[in-house]
């Protein structure tokens, strides 16, 4: 493979854009491949072209300035990158990515690759979670930011993590009635962890402001909550929940937005051959990366939430840092002071991030409470009981075996929705830690591939 191949960046969110900007500044012309129609990623997702003219302050709130800066950064280098929007990377094999765009597949060879693949919602199921009207937090936010609509008229927000309060706040600002915020974290846990969050007073203040704003508008905020079920015939019409004292309560709503933080999109790193390690904070297997973003595979770099959840600010820094690492490895001069500054800021965010996970701990007992007849894999219709059964009968001691025997994770989403649940159920049934049951091996295609692409192959020179 020739070394004159242009660097390739997968993902045009904060990490991908800052990486591209840095490579362009060094005189390179990167290829930026992104699944979305417009750049910005999930957090700074832009509305579709034409017709949607809401200002950035309405779309991104406090983050409007950062969103705008990231958008502008990409606009400024637009003619110095090869930008491929609406393009799915469905495979990585032998030094080339397989791209799908406009129904056709083509291979893109690379020598240097930055993966900035982002994250999706992490969820655990509860009875009724497949009812119409139940959305993930991220999905609810996308509806607001991208489609300009709300998921309901009276929405209950359930789960944990910074997104819980942010999305509730955004919905309230957009004029939607917020039926309540149902936080799984006990109030005392959050209060204790706040001390650590003083490392980043601005973020902390923002969090407190969301809470204050919600309270001031009469939104009930409940801590230490567990879901009992979503109720409704055609569509959800109530959230039944248990309060911190164990009392069962019922809140009428026509939509539930729920989530337990985010999970990294790691399939591409897996197909690229990256080594993985278990990360306690994320409760997930993640591709290994050094402080600069180098993976275990020479020439493959990792940045942003796709290789560990750190948020958008860290993603911007990590994207630039990974680009600098690539430039170093290419033997190009890099500014040592800038490297040092990025490393310092990334280290501070990492420390803050640890307090954040302490403030929003993963509610392990939720997994235990999932009834056997609750569906956990909605692509294939697999229940919690089916997964527990293969564990308890000794047939499955790890994820891939459980998948083979039960089908959990075999459907359209390839485990993106359900594998966190399956891992919790398996490891609890087997009495191992969450790291004891391994991870699903990635298989192409990363997302469903139209059969018609087989006849629509583009050859690249």
């Amino acid at each position: 493979m020739s070394e004159v191949l242009p660097p390739v960046i997968v993902g045009a969110g904060p990490a991908g854009i800052r990486a591209a900007e840095r490579l362009v500044a060094a005189g390179l012309r990167p290829v930026v491949v992104d699944e979305a129609a417009r750049w910005g990623g999930q957090i700074y997702r832009q509305p579709p072209d034409g017709g949607f003219t809401r200002p950035k302050t309405a779309l991104y709130g406090f983050e409007a300035g950062k969103a705008d800066a990231v958008h502008r950064a990409m606009a400024a280098i637009r003619d110095r990158v090869d930008y491929c929007p609406r393009t799915l990377v469905w495979n990585c094999e032998a030094g080339a990515l397989d791209l799908l765009s406009e129904g056709a597949s083509e291979a893109l060879p690379f020598s240097h690759l930055i993966l900035a693949t982002g994250a999706t919602d992490r969820v655990l199921p509860f009875p009724g979670w497949t009812l119409p009207g139940v959305f993930t937090l991220g999905g609810s936010q996308v509806a607001l930011k991208f489609q300009g609509c709300a998921v309901g008229r009276r929405v209950a927000f359930l789960g944990t993590g910074p997104l819980l309060y942010l999305v509730a706040y955004q919905y309230l600002k957009a004029g939607v009635e917020v039926a309540g915020v149902f936080d799984t974290t006990p109030f005392t846990t959050q209060a204790c962890a706040t001390a650590g969050m003083l490392r980043d007073p601005a973020t902390l203040a923002k969090g407190l402001l969301f809470v204050g704003w919600l309270r001031a508008h009469g939104v009930p905020i409940h801590n230490g909550v567990r879901p009992v079920r979503g109720e409704g015939a055609e569509r959800v019409d109530a959230l039944v929940w248990r309060d911190a004292r164990g009392q069962e309560r019922r809140t009428a709503c026509d939509a539930i937005a729920f989530g337990l933080g985010l999970r990294s999109e790691t399939q591409l790193a897996d197909l690229a051959g990256c080594r993985f390690r278990f990360d306690e904070a994320d409760r997930a297997w993640l591709p290994e990366r050094d402080g600069a973003g180098r993976s275990s595979v020479p020439g493959v770099y990792l940045a942003g939430d796709g290789s560990g959840i750190s948020g958008a600010d860290a993603a911007e820094l990590a994207g630039e840092r990974a680009a600098l690492a690539m430039l170093e490895d290419l033997g190009r001069p890099v500014e040592a002071a800038r490297v040092k500054e990025l490393d310092g800021r990334l280290a501070r965010i990492a420390a803050f991030r640890r307090s954040l996970s302490a403030a929003f701990p993963f509610p392990v007992d939720w997994a235990d409470a999932i009834a056997d007849d609750t569906m956990i894999c909605r692509c294939e219709g697999i229940t919690a009981g089916a997964v527990r059964e293969v564990a308890r009968s000794g047939q499955a001691r790890e994820m891939n075996r459980a998948k083979a025997l039960t089908r959990a994770g075999m459907g359209r989403c390839q485990g993106r929705m359900c594998s966190a649940t399956t891992a919790e159920l398996l490891s609890r049934a087997l009495g191992t830690g969450p790291d004891g049951v391994g991870r699903l091996r990635a298989q192409p295609p990363i997302k469903p591939l139209p059969v018609s692409a087989g006849a629509e192959r583009r050859e690249v020179a």
């Binding site: 094999e93 397989d98 075996r401 083979a404 459907g411 192409p444 295609p445 059969v451 087989g454």
Partner: protein, 372 residues
Amino acid sequence: MRERIDCDVAIVGGGIVGGSAALFLRQAGLSVTLLERDWCGAKASGVNFGGVRRQGRPLEQLPLSQRAHSIWGRLPELLGTDAEYIRSGHLKLARSEPDLASLIAYRERTQGFGLGLEIVTGEEFRRRWPALGDRAIGGSLCPEDGHANPRLVSPAFARAAAKLGAVVREQTPVDRVEKDGGRFVLLSGDALEVRARFLLNTAGAWSWRVAEAFGEPVPLESLHPNMAVTEPLPRFLDVNIGVEGGGVYGRQVPRGNMVVGGGRGFALDADRARPQRDAVLTLMRDAAELFPQLRHAHVIRCWTGVEGYTPDRNPIVGPSRTTPGLFHAFGFSGAGFQIGPGVGQTLAELVTTGGTPMPLEPFRIDRFTPTA
């Protein structure tokens, strides 16, 4: 401390052959220890296409294949599950007159083996399988062939054997194997030593290692059949489909997903393989041509496995030529799933009675060794 197990029969490899041999040996009352490096039925036995097919096999395989056929008919009784096995029929398509002629010739040659092949062409063919595109001009139907879910069938054999008292050890690689006087000795690290009067070598693509340890090198090659599955689609196909001359094969499972295969994946290392991009795309193109219903569908997953192939594409089945008490069964060359339980039963028969009515001459291990 090293655990020691003494038993009648040690089996290396818990795929469908080793698992079924263990089951039949337990039924005969022998003590059995089955050692599996990975999980039972997780390699080629568990990730193959899932065709349960006699049609198309070379004649010399048909007695074993018929024996297997009757075992497949008793799956629920043997395994406690039907493992999604359906006798849907296997339809082999002809895309040209010469292909049709060779299907007719195959039917003539296999008279008396009990396949019950039926050649269907023209109007009748269109009437019975209207969903098939117009690439095929006819086909040969083997009504009692079918398909099953390999992920469920293959582990179930080892599990049934364990239920009858076989010692089944998964995640247990065999590092050393030798014969010490009248006993085979198998070592797995420092943890386990198994001693046995008989040894069955059913380790699939890795069987050459055991054979070589007993002075029987074989030209076994690892290949990786390429497969893909679509999202669930409305039912349009009941039969398991093959094509004369090869290329592509497909079956629709009751859930609606269409499983198709064709082409080859590539090895990541000696133990793992991945689908290959060109093979995947070619498979999608060919499958859509054969099954027009797929044109607007999506492939949700591709996979492959590691399977041992012999130069003549027939398996190696039967007694070792160097070591009494050792029996081999491997190298099924991409066609071991249906025949597997028949081979397992034959191995059990060889151990318990010292012989078998099955003609195993074509499958001798030393057939590739030039004789002086």
